[in-house]
Every structure is written in structure tokens, then in C-alpha cells.
């Protein structure tokens, strides 16, 4: 079926290049497959059908890391695509590679495509702008962690599903009750480093790394071994030991357990909404990510995860025009509103958020507005604008390892975080040296 469509697309592509010879084709390498891949393909088809000057070809290159690596390898060989999807973790690497990219603000200005940087949500845009406030890449899919609650499980355990779960203190009480009622998986998580360290730090307004989390320079050092982070990780570790927190894996493995109705609470990206809604045969609810009530100033705001689109260097003016038209098309309210509603990713423009609200989507799907509120409730501080760290994919790997050591009880939270900071700093220094 897929192959047929591909062949068909290829055939039409060939005939079209035959007749409309002036058409400019650009490649977009992305990391989406499955349902998200289908939605992405729909956007591409819609763009290609909307005009005849440009043609975008979307190519799936595996997961986020693989897509970035393919892009880098292709650049070295001079075969790079015009548009490359890069996950938020790769942002610092792309920013440092000045000769390999063409900043989005520049692409837009030169092509004259409609582009208003102020239309984008500050909390999303901030991750991808330079210190002069210029957008270097276009945010594509952005999400933030929230708490998913299996209400049926609470009821079955004889607990009030409407109980207050806004703080981790209260979550602790809930976990005790669930455990006592014999629930085998009271709490699980996806993306442990992103949710329980990166977002935890921003949410409590404590630095994850020095130099404004790396925004102010390459000579940044990790600092997530502070008291707030250590307290949280130690609590999670204690919960793991008591069987109240069940660890299922580094990525979103825990999602399968939650969707199957095995876990009562689940911290996961707001973009997990579509999957949970499609599969859950129980009453579920989305709540804001819990915070520690005893930390002054909490909750601040959470930060994003997801990807942005980078325009690569070394392409023709025509191709840049095509890229500009396409990026401008992607930012339009209709496209953004549909994307937001279908996937649970945040709308990247204010207009798309307003449109979604006006359409009554939030009333019909309670909980989907929480991610947006959580991110924009307060003006971001230097601790909650985001993270900009080199080699961050590897640093996350180190954090995952150290967290796993806490979950099995091999290390205390303090020892694990100290070790992660020390190991991560080595990578940061190396990144600094390579990009000096």
C-alpha cells in the first residue's frame, strides 16, 4: 500500500517535472514515521498542491539522532537536504556550525516570504533564537511534560480521582495509597532526564547549567547536582525501592504500560495525548506537572522538547525561496491549529492557539490546554528559557545511566548527580574546544 503510493507519487513527480520544468524541488529530511509521519506527509502534500512553483519531498531518516547524523554526514559529502529536522538537543551543535546552516531569519528576509517573528510563542521561539533575538531555525513540533492520571485506577484503589496532585508531596501521598491498595505500578515516566531533571530545574527556577543554561556561552558547566534536583531524584529513588515508581526505559517505553491500564500516574510529553486517547480503555485525565511545594517560586514554567527545522547552507537561491515559502506555509494558523489538535504538540504561533480555543477544541478535549498554560504562565527566567548545551545527546545518555544507578539502588542521588555533572562537563569542554 505504502509502496504503491510512493510509486504513484514518484510517477506523478516525474511527469510533473516533464511538463512544469521550472519547478524547484527541495528535500526535507525528517524523523517522523507512523501516525506523525502520515500527518507530516499530509502537510507536504497540501503545500505541493497549493502552488506549482515548488515541490517539497519529505524523506524519513530514522529517529531524531539518526536524522541529525544523516544530515551531518550528507553535509560532509556535499549532499545535504535543503531542510533538516533537528531535535532540540541538537540545537547547540547546529548553532555552532555557522558555515553549515543558513539562519531562518535570513532565508525569510532574502526571499521576501511572509514572516513575523513576533507571531511565534515566546517560550517556544526562545529555544531557537540567538542572543540578538533572531530566529535561527523554525520550531516545528514542541511539547512539554505533563502528568497523565488513570482515574479508574484511583477509584478502584478507593481513592478520590479528583484529589490534588499539583505537588510532589501530594503525589507521594497518592502513591502510598495506591501501593497500599495493591497497585503494581503507581507511577512511571517517559524521558526521565527531560522530565525529572531538565524540566524539574526550569520548573523550580534553578540552573541546570551555568551561563544561563549555556545560552550565554560555550564555557558553560553543568550544575544539576543542586539540592532541589538531588532531593527530587532521591525521592524518586526511594519510591523506586518501595515499588511506587516503576522504571520502564529511557525513552517512552512506559507509555505502553500506562496505555494498557497498568500504571496509575505517568509523566510524559503532552504529545503523548494522541496515543493515550486512541488506546486507553479507561478514564484518563491530564494534569499539570507536579512541583515541590516547599521550593520558593515554584512552579516557574516548563521547557520544550521536540524539533525545529534548519535550512542548510550550500543551496541555490531558488531552493531557498522554496524553503521560505514552505516554512511560511507551515507557520500558518490553519496548519498549526490542525497539527496542535491532532498531535498534542504545542501550537507554535499565538494565532493558532487562539484559533484552537475559538473552535472549542479545549472545551471538547479537557486537559489539552494544560501544556500551553504550564509553559506560558510566567515570564521565563534565565533558568527556564531552555538549554543550549553541546554534545547534549551524549550528556543525556550519561544522565540516563546515572539515574538508572539510582533506580536500582546502586548509588545515592547525590553521588549519581555529582558523577553525571563531572562526566558531562568533560564532554562540554571537548565541545568547547572543537568549536573554538
Amino acid at each position: 500500500m505504502k509502496f504503491k503510493t510512493l510509486a504513484l507519487a514518484l510517477a506523478t513527480g516525474l511527469t510533473m517535472t516533464g511538463t512544469a520544468f521550472a519547478q524547484t524541488e527541495i528535500q526535507w529530511w525528517h524523523a517522523f514515521s507512523g501516525r506523525l509521519g502520515d500527518l507530516l506527509a499530509e502537510q507536504v502534500d497540501q503545500f505541493n498542491a497549493s502552488q506549482s512553483d515548488y515541490k517539497v519531498v519529505g524523506v524519513n531518516k530514522g529517529n531524531y539522532s539518526e536524522t541529525l547524523n544523516s544530515g551531518i554526514a550528507a553535509f560532509r559529502a556535499g549532499e545535504q537536504p535543503t531542510i533538516l529536522m533537528v531535535f532540540e538537543v541538537g540545537t547547540a551543535s547546529m548553532m555552532a556550525a555557522e558555515g553549515a546552516i543558513k539562519p531562518v531569519y535570513q532565508v525569510m528576509a532574502e526571499s521576501g516570504a511572509a514572516f513575523d517573528p513576533d507571531a511565534y510563542l515566546g517560550a517556544v521561539k526562545g529555544y531557537y533564537t540567538n542572543t540578538d533575538g533572531q530566529m535561527l531555525s523554525l520550531p516545528y513540533n514542541s511539547s512539554t511534560p505533563v502528568l497523565y492520571v488513570n482515574r479508574d485506577m484511583f477509584s478502584k484503589a478507593g481513592m478520590d480521582p479528583d484529589m490534588d496532585l499539583s505537588t510532589w508531596e501530594n503525589v507521594g501521598v497518592a502513591l502510598d495509597g495506591l501501593k497500599d491498595a495493591g497497585v503494581s505500578c503507581p507511577l512511571t515516566t517517559a524521558w526521565q532526564s527531560w522530565v525529572h531533571l531538565e524540566n524539574l530545574s526550569a520548573y523550580h527556577n534553578v540552573p541546570f547549567a551555568s551561563k544561563d543554561n549555556g545560552f550565554a556561552g560555550l564555557d558553560t558547566e553543568l550544575s544539576f547536582n543542586g539540592p532541589v534536583q538531588v532531593k527530587h531524584i532521591q525521592t524518586m529513588g526511594d519510591w523506586a525501592k518501595d515499588g511506587k515508581f516503576i522504571y520502564n526505559g529511557r525513552r517512552n517505553e512506559g507509555g505502553a504500560n500506562f496505555r494498557a491500564g497498568e500504571c496509575a500516574l505517568f509523566t510524559e510529553s503532552s504529545a503523548g495525548y494522541a496515543g493515550v486517547k486512541a488506546n486507553a480503555e479507561f478514564d484518563f485525565e491530564i494534569r499539570a506537572l507536579p512541583y515541590w511545594g516547599d521550593v520558593a517560586g515554584a512552579p516557574q514554567n516548563t521547557i520544550i522538547g521536540g524539533s525545529s527545522l534548519w535550512v542548510m547552507a550550500g543551496k541555490s537561491d531558488e531552493q531557498y525561496k522554496a524553503a521560505a515559502q514552505f516554512l511560511s506555509f507551515l507557520s500558518s494558523s490553519d496548519i498549526q491549529a490542525i497539527w496542535h489538535q491532532n498531535t498534542g504538540y504545542l501550537p507554535i504561533t499565538l494565532a493558532a492557539a487562539t484559533q484552537t480555543e475559538a473552535e472549542g477544541f479545549y472545551d471538547a478535549n479537557p486537559g489539552t490546554e494544560i501544556a500551553g498554560i504550564q509553559m506560558t504562565a510566567k515570564e521565563p527566567t534565565s533558568n527556564s528559557k531552555g538549554l543550549r548545551l553541546g554534545s547534549f545527546d551524549q550528556i543525556r545518555g550519561i544522565i540516563d545511566e546515572e539515574l538508572e544507578a539510582v533506580w536500582v539502588g546502586d548509588k545515592t542521588a547525590q553521588a549519581a548527580m555529582d558523577s553525571a555533572v563531572e562526566r558531562g562537563n568533560v564532554l562540554l569542554r571537548r565541545f568547547e574546544q572543537a568549536n573554538r
Binding site: F75, A97, E404, R430, A434
Partner: protein, 280 residues
Amino acid sequence: MLLLLPQVLVTVVFFFYPAGQAIWQSLFISDPFGLKSQFVGLGNFEYLLADRFYRASFATTAIFSGLTTVVSMGVALYLAVLADRLIKGSGVYRTLLIWPYAVAPAVAGVLWLFMFNGRVGIVTWYLGLMGYDWNHVLNDGEAMGLVVVASSWGRISYNFLFFLAGLQAIPKSVIEAAAIDGAQFWTRFRTIIFPLLSPVTFFLLVVNIVYAFFETFGVIHTITSGGPQQATTILVYKVFSDGFVGQDLGSSAAQSVILLVIVGALTIVQFKFIERRVHY
């Protein structure tokens, strides 16, 4: 001399040139896109040897390669001896035993991963019934066991084939003579069969160690990605992950150079010391 030229050319193009490149690159730190690079001399080697996880990965590699070689050769030899004694239907057994060799390491990794998956794995489920809580995601011993089994599995077929051929090349008259003299099977195996099999065993030892060193990274990548806590990060896997995941080509190249030296040394040791004990 002229007839040797194609061979020399192949060696230069496919061995000396890439090896030279690796050595050259190991002296630089460069950014992922290849836009900037700086000469650091032996800086990459210093950086590596200061890393306690890199030092630990030597021991990990030794344990992993040793276990994989012993398991895959031991089981293969056992099966070959059994198949050799078969009179009827040996062809069927042989074909079935050779099959797993056709499975690529990465695919084998996925197969074993499914069986031991914490959520849907059938083996995990049975172990759970027996009261054993299998979790190779967090337990380093279990992770190592799983990658060793998965890497050995496909390899058993290959070794089996060679052992069987070796066994069948041993003259039956020698064994019969020993049997008439009253030697039991185990004695015959120890004093006649195993020594006569030694050229095959030596060959397989070399080939299997090289396999465990270089070709198992697909298995490790799919099953553990080197975890938990680098417990299954063997040297080659670290070359891959630093080079292709971390985009640190300088460090990756330096590791390749270190591997080159190790394999050279291993080969010399094998031919100098072990081959002496081989009877041709």
C-alpha cells in the same frame, strides 16, 4: 612482481589508506560538520585514557569476547560431535543447525530482545512464573549474558560447520583402533579427536575473537546500546557511539588506532604461542 600488484593495490586502497586516515584524524579535534579542526597531537589519546569508562571497556571487551568465543565454540563442538555420530537424517540436522548463520547480527539482536523484553518477552514471562525478575535494562550481569548469548547464537552455526567438517576428516580407522583397545568415548575424544581437531579449533579461535571484537556491535546496539552504565560497551561499540552518535571524530579515530594496535598484538600472540600447540 607484476602478478602481485592487484593484491598490493587492494591492500593499499582498502587497508593502508583508511588506516593512515584514522591515524591522521586521531591527531585532530574537529567539529561534526568538518568545518574546523585543530591539531592536538596526542591529546585525543590523553583524553581517552583519562576516561575511567574507556579503561573499563577494555575489561568489558575481554570478558565479552572471551565468553562469546567459549560459548559459541563450546556449543558448536558439542553439537558437531553429536551430529557426527548420527547415521540417519544427519543432513536435516546439519541444515537446521546452519540456518541461524543467515540471520544478520542486528536482526538476531532484535529477536533475542523480543524474547527477553521486560513487557512482552516470552522468556521473561516464564522466568517471572518461576519467580525470577529479569531486567537486563538495569542489571548489568543480565545485560552481558544476553548480548553474549545473542552474539554467540548465530556464530554457533558457523563453528558447527567447521567442526563437523574437521570431525569427518579424522580417519575412522584411528578411532576404531582406539575403540578396539578399549578406549571409551571420552578418552577417545580427549586423546585422539580433540588433538586432531586442533587446526580447526585454532582457526575458529582466531576468527571468533575477531568476530566478537568487531562484528557484534549490531547486537549490542539493538539490545543494550552499551548499557546499563556502560556495562556492555565494548571497544568497537564505543568507536561507533562516539563517532556516529557523539560526532566526535577525533576521539573515534584515536580509538580505532588503539584497536588496531590491540588486534595486531593479539594476532601475534595467537600465532606465536597458541599455534605451537596445534598439530597439523
